[in-house]
Amino acid sequence: MMKTDEKMIVKGKRLDGRKPDDLRKIEMEVGVIPNADGSSKVSFGKTTAIVAVYGPRSLFPRHLQESESGIIQFKYDMATFSVDDRKRPGPSRRETEISKVARLAIEPVLFLKNYPKTTVDVFVEILQADGSTRVTAINAASLALADAGVPMRDLVVGLSGGKVDDTLILDLCGKEDNYSDADVPMAFLPNKNEITLLQMDGRLTPEETKQIIRNILHAGKEIYKKQVETLKRKYSE
């Protein structure tokens, strides 16, 4: 975490005018990529992720050995222009790690054992990055998988919490992420009460940590509703 003299919270308001528990404006859309079996675009404020799902489709022979069960392949990629200084193409170490933890965040809702010798491929592109990119990506992946008709035992909701200026907050934007005392990205299954992604960076008491997790679970319900609405909207069209 970097340091700054700038106050992140002034008179109870955050940099962008939000209250500590407010989420940014969330936009969700499915069916945005005609070629894909399922797709979605999700924005949390200025952070935007677009996701395509292909599959379940056949695995190439070279992978067949490992596939009594089906597998999920998850690629998290940031567009070169999604950040201030152009990102070099190709996966950075950060992107490699996120591809792994995001895959594990999604895997528990799929019935991969029912689809031997197949793969479900989830491709995430971060078009704009302003904090909370991995949880935005997970919401988008959840929608795209549902849009693809892949059987799921729950949706997956992603949301970040954290702490700035001694205040617990939700949905960190980029600047808050950079200068926060702590950042907690999390994903969970809203109907199953299962946390499938949990990471934390920063410095918190155990109680604060627990409280942030509770806050995310609570506020995440709204994101879940939005996901459901988005899917309904498409199928009622």
Partner: protein
């Protein structure tokens, strides 16, 4: 694609018809959106029918080439993201992505669209590097025309960031527009049998014998060409394709200026 499907497309073309009802020399519905990426210094999204591509422009410090010490540097890169088509796979850019990037780049560079000499910061040492990054979102044919259009639109709305007192880039202050002098348009003409078509879909691309991509400026000058496909063209074919490209580039230019989406 099945042989039956390919035959069907070919038979239609023989009758001057296309699967989607277009005329042979008709564009698909075109949509252009500018400034769609808040984190880029310039950007555009272009749709040609179901083909959708994004181009983002980033301005970074760079070093000039030794033989042009007071000129900024343009670099175009393309990744064929596996998102955009089931046949695309992850990994470093291959032959096709490299070709697309280089053809888009050539259209811009050769038309001298950008006044690179206005991009010098310190002669021989520090210049603006203009990175043009092409991302296809959905590939339904004719990526080169879509990408070239998105690239020039994105460049056209690019703003150069100011430098702060310490000489660092302040991306919150985007001031002067990038000096874009020309606005070339890439028109790809496909040939199959003795028919010429423009703006081919992905399925049509599978049955084409050859394509010739031609970049044309406002004054009707040719600034770049690239033949692809594994069947040869006669000199008369090429003449014909150049004429089509020049004509259709005018039409496309008017469509864009008028903000319209379709021609008849």
């Amino acid at each position: 694609m099945s042989d039956m499907r390919a035959d069907y497309i070919l038979k239609l073309l023989e009758k001057d018809e296309r699967l989607d009802g277009r005329k042979l020399d008709q564009f698909r519905e075109i949509s252009i959106e500018k400034n769609i990426i808040a984190t880029a210094e310039g950007s555009a999204k272009v749709k040609l029918g179901k083909t959708e591509v994004i181009v983002g422009v980033k301005m970074n410090f760079g070093e000039p080439f030794p033989d042009m010490p007071d000129a900024g540097v343009l670099r175009t890169e393309a990744e064929l993201m596996p998102m955009a088509h089931p046949d695309f796979t992850s990994g470093p850019p291959g032959e096709d992505a490299t070709e697309i990037a280089r053809v888009i780049d050539r259209g811009i560079r050769e038309s001298e669209s950008i006044d690179v000499e206005k991009l010098c910061i310190t002669k021989g040492e520090k210049v603006w590097s203009v990175f043009v990054d092409f991302y296809p979102i959905n590939h339904d044919g004719n990526l080169i025309d879509a990408g070239s259009l998105a690239a020039i639109v994105a460049l056209k709305n690019t703003r150069i960031p100011e430098l702060d007192k310490e000489g660092k880039i302040d991306r919150e202050k985007l001031k002067n527009p990038l000096p874009v002098m020309h606005f070339p348009l890439m028109i790809t003409v496909g040939k199959v049998g003795n028919k010429m078509i423009i703006d081919p879909t992905f399925e049509e691309e599978q049955v084409l014998d050859s394509k010739l991509s031609i970049a044309v400026t406002e004054e009707g000058k040719v600034v770049a060409m690239q033949k692809s496909g594994s069947v040869g063209l006669t000199d008369d074919d090429v003449d014909n394709m150049i004429d089509i490209a020049v004509k259709k580039s005018k039409e496309l230019r008017k469509l864009i200026e008028d903000g319209k989406k379709t021609s008849k």
